[in-house]
């Protein structure tokens, strides 16, 4: 694996001489490798799948693209969810609750 093919997170722990010039990222979409989930403090959103009506409002409103969807249900990506609670506030059937971690 060449230096450029390594995941960004791995490459960016290099000493200063080996860092990409000017901090340019040569892999598109690499910001997903930055796990913002550890910014979350106090509460995390939890979905009650029995009451969920799959309206996808949480998926639309999530500012961090942390709601993932599959054909039959939505899930929360805790590696990236910052715990803002917007999904919980927007849910029309109140099936997303903010639970203490």
């Amino acid at each position: 694996m060449t230096e450029d093919e390594k995941p960004l997170g791995e490459r960016m722990k290099l000493p200063w001489r080996q860092m990409p010039i000017g901090g340019t990222a040569f892999q598109p979409g690499s910001s997903t490798e930055y796990k913002t989930g550890d910014w979350r403090i106090i509460k995390k959103p939890v979905i009650d799948h029995k009451r969920c009506i799959m309206c996808l409002l949480c998926w639309i409103f999530c500012p961090d693209v942390s709601i993932t969807r599959s054909p039959d249900q939505v899930e929360i990506d805790y590696y990236h969810c910052k715990g803002c609670g917007i999904c919980s506030a927007e849910c029309p059937v109140r099936c997303i609750s903010m639970v203490e971690e």
């Binding site: 901090g23 340019t24 990222a25 690499s30």
Partner: protein, 425 residues
């Protein structure tokens, strides 16, 4: 430690007062290219250099005393003499920002500004150097407001001296022309990848017509091939520039940038040598005059050096051992070259054409004091603040400074560490 080229000008010179300051190159079997002598002011000379450098994009906003550069260049564009995208922006902040965008696409980019314009660009200057955009910017140094003043001092560039750009100061129109061409080659060197400012004194150089030697277009093209960027922003091969770098990564990127800037002195030196072979005009890191046996010396930059050199010649004829150091390269600061150039001098006057408000001495003097202290050198120095807001520095005043330095050399006592020259007491 490698010492880079230091140009030595010998004295006493038999050069008549109005002869061109160009000394034919005496190198080993080098054929200097034929040149055309024209009467241009500093701004026009820079505009011509930019035209000959085949710049892809010029993004600029007019401001006195730089206006003539973009005026003249827009004429070249309108007359179809250049194949350049000329972008008129609504402010210098936008001009600098557009320059960054253009530079990232792999284009050769030029902009020009002065004074308030440079101050408005301030935050973008750091972005340009941080993103390693090899932009070249001409700065016709002008005083900062208030009170409002359009004339020359260097408070604009000195206020932005920590912006990470390579900073070059030209003494006259010829140097402004030559350094502008060299600046592209320095900036675009793959080990440098940093923006460069070519500074010249507003009005004193920018609006004063002088005879200058200009290279033929094809010679400039031969010296300066089109830019080969190390990466470009290209939809086929997407990259992310200017992304967030927090505590874990920012420091490494800045350390890398500092290394590139410090190492760029070697490239400046190399480019100057190549340019000398082409033009016959020697450039380098700094220029010395009479430093071999001088007891007292002046260290200055820009147009002041011309006046100081002529005063020096007169004083040498009177048997006074005085010398002169003129810095071309201000950032990166040429530590070894200055220490070496100082020789056995016993007193040094440092000429600062800008105030650093509240600081112990001016910016240039502060740098010199620092390197002397770091080398354990006990040389007696004093700072001269002069020429603010376009106040002329006269030969008699420079002679006074030389005499003051000579008296410091003899007595070893510095009466005033900061001397204001030319202000009404």
């Amino acid at each position: 430690m490698v010492l880079h080229t230091v140009k030595k000008v010998y004295y006493p010179s038999k050069v008549p007062p109005f002869a061109p300051q160009v000394v034919p190159y005496q190198g080993e079997g080098v054929t200097v290219r034929r040149q055309e002598v024209v009467g241009y002011n500093g701004d026009e000379a820079v505009a011509l250099a930019v035209k000959q450098s085949k710049v892809d994009v010029v993004a600029a906003y007019p401001i006195t005393p730089q206006t003539i550069i973009v005026e003249r260049f827009s004429e070249y564009v309108a007359d179809g003499e250049v194949d350049t995208e000329f972008v008129c922006l609504e402010s210098e902040h936008s001009a600098a920002s557009a320059s960054i965008g253009a530079s990232l696409t792999g284009a050769r980019v030029f902009t020009a500004t002065a004074s308030q314009g440079l101050a408005l660009m301030h935050e973008v200057l750091y972005t340009a150097s941080g993103l390693r955009c090899p932009i070249v910017m001409a700065v016709a140094n002008r005083a900062l407001s208030a009170p409002l003043n359009i004339h020359n001092d260097r408070s604009d560039m000195m206020g932005s001296r920590d912006c990470g750009w390579i900073q070059i100061y030209a003494e006259n129109s010829q140097e402004a022309y030559d350094w502008t061409i060299q600046a592209f080659k320095i900036a675009e060197n793959t080990t440098v990848q940093l923006p460069v400012t070519v500074n010249f004194d507003g009005f004193v150089i920018s609006h004063a017509m002088e005879t200058i030697n200009t290279l033929a277009d094809e010679d400039v093209t031969g010296f300066l091939p089109s830019r080969k960027p190390i990466f470009t922003i290209d939809p086929e091969h997407p990259v992310t520039v200017g992304s967030l770098f927090l505590q874990e990564y920012y420091f490494e990127i800045k350390r890398q940038q500092e290394e590139a800037l410090q190492k760029s002195a070697e490239v400046v030196d190399q480019v100057a040598k190549e340019y000398c072979a082409l033009s016959g005009r020697e450039y380098g890191i700094l220029e010395t005059c009479g430093m071999e046996d001088a007891e007292a010396a002046i260290l200055c930059m820009g147009s002041t050096a011309g006046t100081a050199r002529s005063v020096m010649r007169k004083m040498r004829a009177e048997g006074k051992k005085v010398g002169l150091i003129k810095l071309w390269l201000y950032r990166p600061f040429p530590v070894e070259e200055i220490i070496s150039a100082l020789g056995n001098v016993k007193a040094l006057a440092i000429m600062d054409m800008a105030l650093s408000f509240g600081a112990p001495v001016g910016a240039l003097c502060s740098d010199i004091a620092t390197i002397l202290q770091l080398r354990g050198n006990n040389l007696k120095i004093f700072d001269v603040i002069y020429g603010l807001g376009g106040r002329d520095i006269r030969p008699a005043e420079i002679e006074g400074i030389f005499n003051e330095a000579l008296s410091v050399a003899q007595t070893g006592i510095v009466k005033e560490s900061v001397k204001y020259v030319g202000v009404r007491e």
